[in-house]
Amino acid sequence: MNLPLIGLVRLFTVLVALFVVAPAIVIVVSAFNEPAFMSFPPKAYSPKWFYVALANPDFQRGFANSVWVMLWASTLAVIVGTAFSIAMRRSEFVGKNLLESFILSPLVVPHFTIGLGILMLFVNVHMVQGFAPVVLCHTILVLPFVIRSVYISLHNLDLRLELAASSLGAKPRRVLTSITLPLLLPGIVGGWIFAAILSFNEFTGTVFVVSQSTRTLPVAMYNHVRESTDPAVAAVATLYIAVTMIVILLAFAFLGPGTGLNRDKRS
């Protein structure tokens, strides 16, 4: 390849990268806009909207709700998903592949469908006010990601380790707690982190199932934008990006190479 062509390719790469991150850049920069309306580029810079956003009771409440829902939903999803994955590995039945591919393909069912379905379900039992519908909605939405993560760990787990443990006198429950689960831990932790990120950012399904008191942060932000155009919401979005990035870095630490569990994969 000649030099001008390499230059063109590089330019194109930079443009694509810019295109992808442009919205985030716009949001982050306009969060520092001094006037009480969003504009890009800002006329004057100030961090004041961060203080405004942090002092906003709707955002405070939304953040607390989001964390609460995230902790419950991703923990429940990890428990259900791990149990499901182990059970699936140990059983053979007609339609196993079908069930597997259905569970593992969250995109088949749109998020709003699940939100709407859960809303209708909980209206019937008069429980729309509490956290139950929100947590259930998020658990269902993040479950495929947890299962996928645990599945990969299970796939790399040598069955003979469990056989060896049971030959040494370990009852099935001890095999599970001393061999299977510790070796699945990277997958479980990774799955939990992904579930947490997804739950924390979920909007489409959540908007159907939240009530005044259980409103999560993305829903609170949406409501705020409908009534006001001040940069406070951009400041919250900036904080959102920062938190998510930290969590993703944590996820890489657990799932990336060097987890110390690159086991022998011969079958």
């Binding site: 040598d158 003979r160 380790l161 056989l163 060896a164 443990a165 049971s166 030959s167 040494l168 006198g169 370990a170 009852k171 099935p172 001890r174 001393s178 061999i179 510790p182 070796l183 569990l261 690159n262 086991r263 022998d264 011969r266």
Partner: protein, 378 residues
């Protein structure tokens, strides 16, 4: 041969009374789907015996190991360990030690934790666990590696940890599933000697699964030769090698050259066969041979000698190829009238060097180590 088979094929239930029997299989059968992998296998193993299950892949040897371990259940028959029927006993109550091909060491535990795992499951006091783990690590000469993780050890060291882990619980039976196949050739020989030594010291009944006949011949007290889910022969290594029970065993174990011949006379346990004009008096393996029947005669490379062309009682042959093997020479001879495949003769290096390709020679066969089986009809 016949009486040996009857003795070893005694049903386990009647033999269980005899205290020396450690493991007994009584008419055990197993199918995977429509494929029957074991056909009514009977086998009794004495306490402390080193028994090898040998056969090509798919012969059912690993299935026997898995059945004894309790990883799978048999469809029919009974398995006894120390006189107790364990057919329905779960693995964790069977008190067996197992060493897998890939060792299956727990990657998240240190060597010491790996070896102590079985004792911990038995709720042995901490102090005694430490003492017994140290003793086991001394036995396999790995005391200095107690705090390492399995992945920090070489293949041979991992294997010794696996062995220590299996032996420390003082199992009733030790099961070895092709433990040497992942080691390189030099280490393999050393580990075979070491393993046999450790097994003898521990005095534990051992089942060893392999498809490597060299390993089987050098390590075993007895060998069980299997094919297609059936036991073909049970016997000491010399017996298997020198007196194979059927043509499968004769060809599967060691090298054997095949000659075509005719039965001239059946005389009790002896068989007089003719290879061309050469008469050979050999031990009968199968009772079904009758006068005038055509047979295949299998001779070991050590049982074949090269004599001058035209010597009395020799078969005419032509040297086709001479292969230098270091300590000895393998000569391949053509003997078209009497054999459709080349005849292998093993010679001292000096003798072999004198042979020329195309040279006409005489072939003499020793009766010892030579077997005859009826020609297969197709």
């Amino acid at each position: 041969m016949k009486q040996v088979n009857e003795a070893t094929f005694r049903p386990a239930s009647s033999a269980a009374a005899a205290t020396k029997i450690s493991v007994g299989l009584d008419r055990v059968s197993k199918s995977f789907g429509a494929v029957k992998v074991l056909h009514d296998v009977c086998l009794n193993v004495a306490k402390g015996e080193f028994l090898t299950l040998l056969g090509p892949s798919g012969c059912g040897k690993s299935t026997i190991l898995n059945l004894i371990a309790g990883f799978i259940e048999c469809d029919g028959g009974e398995i006894c360990i120390d006189g107790e029927v364990v057919t329905k006993t779960p693995t964790f109550q069977r008190e067996i030690g197992i060493v897998f091909q890939n060792y299956a060491l727990f990657p998240h535990m240190s060597v010491r934790k790996n070896v102590g795992y079985g004792l911990e499951m038995r709720k042995v006091p901490r102090v005694e666990i430490d003492r017994r783990v140290e003793r086991a690590l001394d036995l396999v000469k790995l005391a200095d590696y107690r705090d390492r993780r399995p992945k920090e050890l070489s293949g041979g060291q991992q294997q010794r940890v696996a062995l220590a882990r299996a032996l420390v619980i003082e199992p009733k039976v030790l099961l070895l599933d092709e433990p040497f196949s992942a080691l390189d050739k030099n280490l393999r020989g050393a580990m075979q000697v070491e393993l046999k030594e450790i097994q003898r010291k521990a005095g534990v009944t051992t089942f060893f699964v392999t498809h490597d006949q060299g390993e089987a011949l050098s390590m075993s007290d007895r060998i069980v030769v299997m094919s297609e889910g059936r036991i073909r022969q049970v016997g000491a290594p010399e017996q298997i090698y020198n007196r194979p029970a059927d043509r499968f065993v004769a060809t599967f174990i060691g090298d054997a050259s095949r000659f075509s011949g005719l039965v001239d006379e059946v005389d009790g346990g002896r068989l007089k066969v003719m290879i061309g004009d050469t008469r050979l008096d050999i031990e009968a393996r199968e009772s079904s041979c009758s006068r005038g029947q055509s047979v295949d005669i299998f001779a070991r490379p050590e049982s074949i000698r090269i004599v001058p062309d035209g010597a009395p009682d020799s078969i005419a042959g032509v040297v086709r190829n001479v292969v230098y093997q270091g300590g000895h020479v393998d000569a391949y001879l053509d003997c078209e009238k009497m054999s459709s495949s080349p005849i292998l003769v093993r010679l001292a290096a000096a003798t072999g060097a004198a042979l020329q390709r195309g040279q006409r020679v005489g072939i003499a066969i020793d009766a010892a180590g030579t077997s005859a089986f009826p020609t297969e009809k197709f």
